[in-house]
Amino acid sequence: MPADLADRPLSAASRMGQLERADTLAARNRRFSEGQKIQVRIRRHDDLGTRYQQFEVPYQKRMRVLDALNWIADHEAGDLAYRWICGSRMCGTCAVRMNGREVLSCWEAVEPAMTIEPLRNLPVIRDLVVDRSPFEQKVAALEPWIERAVPYAGFPEKLTHRQMKDASKALDCIGCMCCYSACPVIGLGGLTDFAGPAPLVQLGQTALDPRNSKEKLARSLALTSIFSCISCYKCEEACPAAIPIVSRVIEPLKARAAELLPQMAIHSRAFRTIIAQRGRIDPGALVLRVQGVRALANFSRIFRMLIRGKVNPLKTLLGIRTAASRPAQHLLGKGNNGS
């Protein structure tokens, strides 16, 4: 388990899944003996269609998923298309889904029976090779580089690790897109403009760097729809570089967006304000605050919400508080810090 993960409490959301995976690392590496047969089922795809093909692979010591793919390409299916470059967790090009979860194939130990499929949320070119260009284009559009507000003062410049703490985490990103494949919001397709976890981590490398100018940061953040992130932590669970993507990248970026571009955070800010004032969420007030009076134009929606008891116009109008309002106010202050 990565050292920094081990320091976090067992209950931390960011340890879900990762903890489970880490706990079984020793077991995963001792499950097989040399030569034992592993069942591998691979999703094949070309212009003729999609099918699954079954292979039997002899276990080699400490075998990774990539070793199994290499064995298959060398011995059984020379035409198997799968991408890899370095074989040692640096290039980030060999990610696939193994039994439904995203893994870096060079990094992950094999399972007795594996179904190997390409990453989700990216077009498949052939077999396990996906088109990386939608991700690359998103990253390029975010202009993930530094524009200095103050001219560079010469080497070494004044900078501490404390200031770089979050950016440093983002710098571990190898662009493997495991998180991009695992993200349920990206999985919604074109329903949102959400940049997705991987492009946000790529942006975070410079956006969380104190040397970058606020103007540059605001320009990039404006393109991210970052508040579409639902903080489900799927990305953190999938990350083979163990980057705390939500807590150390997306949340700090949301905080900066809320500060620099308050309009982006209107929903979060309203949510927070309502809780701070009333001690509970009020969907009616939330919709009104976010959408303004035009929310009232959607009669059928209002009607459905009324019937199902989702909104209570009276409570909304009177701003009735619950017993939780006092501690909520204490915890959240006046509620105008939208992060």
Binding site: R62, G78, C86, T93, P156, L171
Partner: protein
């Protein structure tokens, strides 16, 4: 088929190729990068563990500055280097490289108080974010610089042949975009080969998947001179299993923020290498380690392919992991860190030799062809040196540019190459698959052209290579003629390059009749400075190789003996 034009075609997307492109772009020329992998994500540059401090940077003393230079010339290149070039390079690194990288935003690792964290000792180094992983943010920065400058790049595109115009100038490249399966012919006034230090020519190689000596093979076929092709470097403690981790190293270099570094134990559990005790000066003590291992192998306490162990069991985990990635691999294998060691093995690493260049301009011996980085025969393995080449080659080309002819390449040249590639895609022989041939070549290189070589083994390797060339290549069989993402087709293209490159490596190894640094000849065990402190230059003469010897000048450092048993030489 797509035709593209550029001022300069750069083959390779690592530290040298990227920096060459950026410098040419700054000079107002139009470069185009052709990268077999992904720019900044493939090749050797990605593996830069740390960055060596040169000169008087970061409080380096005069002694430390001198140590760095001595290390580069002696331990890193066994004196087979132009020391004046090394000096120019060191000055540039001190004056330009560090500040420029930091101004761009590279994060030189600090502590919480703001000090740049260094490794202690006679030669110091720093890390980009984390030691062991510095190449990742470093090359990511380059990738983004290329993006930002709008320099066009052809990625997952293999260059297969250099084209020459009627006057013999290299002025174009035939390429295959192997993801889409389309041909690209690039016409350019100059071509830069920047394909890197490593290649996957041995059973265990640190080279990445795509590295199959394409640069060497293309240059040789086009008639360029090569040099010191036998000078092969080895990693001594790369993790033995799993197979795909063959280049994952238990780094022997001094650690940032610690007095300790990895140690190595033989099969009897005896420590036989510990950087701090055994060679504090040899900063990246690859050759020193290899010699220590050779002695263990000879006493039956280790094998070159395993049976010995490396790790950090004498260190505190928190200290190792404060600034390094070193614990991650152990943990991923389910080993307890740092208490458990991991079995390690030798891996073929950088080739010190390569294409012969004029290191003031990076011109190769044929007009229009230039070189940057590891594929050149002028230096060995550090990301700073490779980057410096990017600058020098850009200046060299800018200086030559008006003299370089724009005359285009005749259509016959590239249609012949495309026919060859089509034939490879339709290889329908009755024989061996490209993957099997690749493995066959790597096995024979490992067995006969491995750490310890002799004339008999090398001659046997040559005849096996000839057999592959004459009997197996024509009968090669690939399972699908599909054009899209057909990696087997790519393998078929690679195999031809591997055969060409291995042949010159073996010839070159036979020619150097001494042992030097990591080059061990059983039949010539001594380092022979009287006869062999010289470049071993290979020239193509029809189908033959003509060798020439070119001595090195020794203005700053020179060896203290004429001949000595190589295993007793400290470098």
């Amino acid at each position: 088929m797509q035709k593209l034009a550029a001022d300069v075609a750069i083959i390779g997307g690592g530290a040298a190729g990227c920096y060459a492109a950026l410098c040419l772009h700054k000079q107002g020329l139009k470069p185009l990068i052709i990268c077999k992998g992904l720019v900044g994500k493939s090749g050797a540059s990605l593996f830069a563990g740390n960055l060596v401090i040169s000169g008087r940077l970061l409080g380096n003393t005069e002694a430390q500055a001198r140590n760095t230079a001595e290390f580069l010339i002696k331990y890193h290149n066994q004196f087979l280097i132009d020391q004046n070039w090394a000096r120019r390079c060191g000055e540039w690194i001190e004056r330009v490289y560090y500040p420029e990288l930091e101004e761009l935003g590279l994060y030189f690792r600090r502590d919480d108080a703001g000090n740049v964290v260094t490794s202690p000792g006679a030669i110091r180094s720093v890390a980009a974010n984390v030691q062991g992983n510095s190449g990742v943010p470093f090359m990511d920065l380059r990738r983004k610089q290329i993006m930002r400058a709008g320099i066009p790049r052809l990625e997952e595109t293999v260059a297969t042949a250099l084209l020459r115009n009627s006057k013999g100038n290299v002025s174009g490249v035939v390429c295959l975009d192997y993801i889409n399966g389309t041909y690209v012919v690039v016409q350019a006034r100059a071509v830069v080969l920047a394909t890197g230090y490593s290649d996957r020519l041995h059973k265990r190689s640190t080279g990445t998947r795509e590295m199959s000596a394409d640069g060497i093979a293309m240059a040789w076929r086009a008639g360029a001179d090569l040099v010191n092709m036998e000078m092969q470097w080895w990693h001594t403690n790369d993790i033995a299993d799993p197979p795909c981790w063959q280049r994952m190293q238990v780094y022997p270099n001094p650690m940032l923020g610690s007095e300790k570094s990895a140690r190595m134990l033989n099969s009897a559990g005896e420590e036989f290498f510990n950087q701090q005790n055994d060679d504090p000066l040899a900063f990246g003590p690859y050759t020193v380690q290899l010699k220590a291992l050779a002695k263990q192998v000879r006493s039956g306490k280790a094998r070159y392919d395993g049976g010995y162990y490396a790790g950090f069991d004498h260190c505190d985990a928190a200290e190792v992991e404060a600034y390094t990635t070193y614990g991650k691999a152990f943990r991923q294998l389910g080993l307890s860190f740092p208490d458990e060691l991991v079995e390690t093995s030798v891996t073929s690493h950088y080739r010190q030799g390569g294409i012969d260049v004029d290191n003031a301009t990076m011109r190769a011996s044929i007009p229009g062809l230039y070189v940057a980085g590891g594929v050149g025969g002028h230096s060995n393995g550090l990301i700073g040196l490779a980057t410096y080449d990017g600058k020098v080659v850009a200046d060299g080309i800018a200086g030559d540019f008006d003299r370089l002819e724009e005359e285009s390449v005749s259509e016959n040249e590239w249609t012949a190459e495309i026919r060859r590639l089509d034939r490879l895609r339709n290889s329908s022989g009755t024989g061996t698959s490209p993957a099997t041939l690749k493995n066959m070549i790597r096995d024979l290189m490992w067995d006969k052209v491995g750490v310890e070589k002799d004339a008999a083994g090398l001659e046997a390797a040559l005849s096996q290579i000839q057999q592959i060339r004459l009997e197996l290549l024509p009968e090669m069989k690939i399972s699908s003629g599909n054009r899209v993402a057909n990696y087997e087709w790519l393998d078929a293209i690679d195999v031809v390059n591997m055969v060409d490159a291995c042949e010159v490596i073996v010839h070159s190894s036979l020619q150097r009749k001494e042992s030097r640094g990591p080059f061990f000849r059983r039949d010539f065990p001594s380092t022979d400075n009287r006869h062999w402190l010289a470049a071993n230059v290979l020239k193509k003469a029809g189908n033959e190789i003509r060798f020439e010897k070119r001595p090195y000048e020794l203005p700053y450092f020179s060896p203290s003996f004429e001949t000595r048993d190589n295993l007793e030489v400290p470098w």
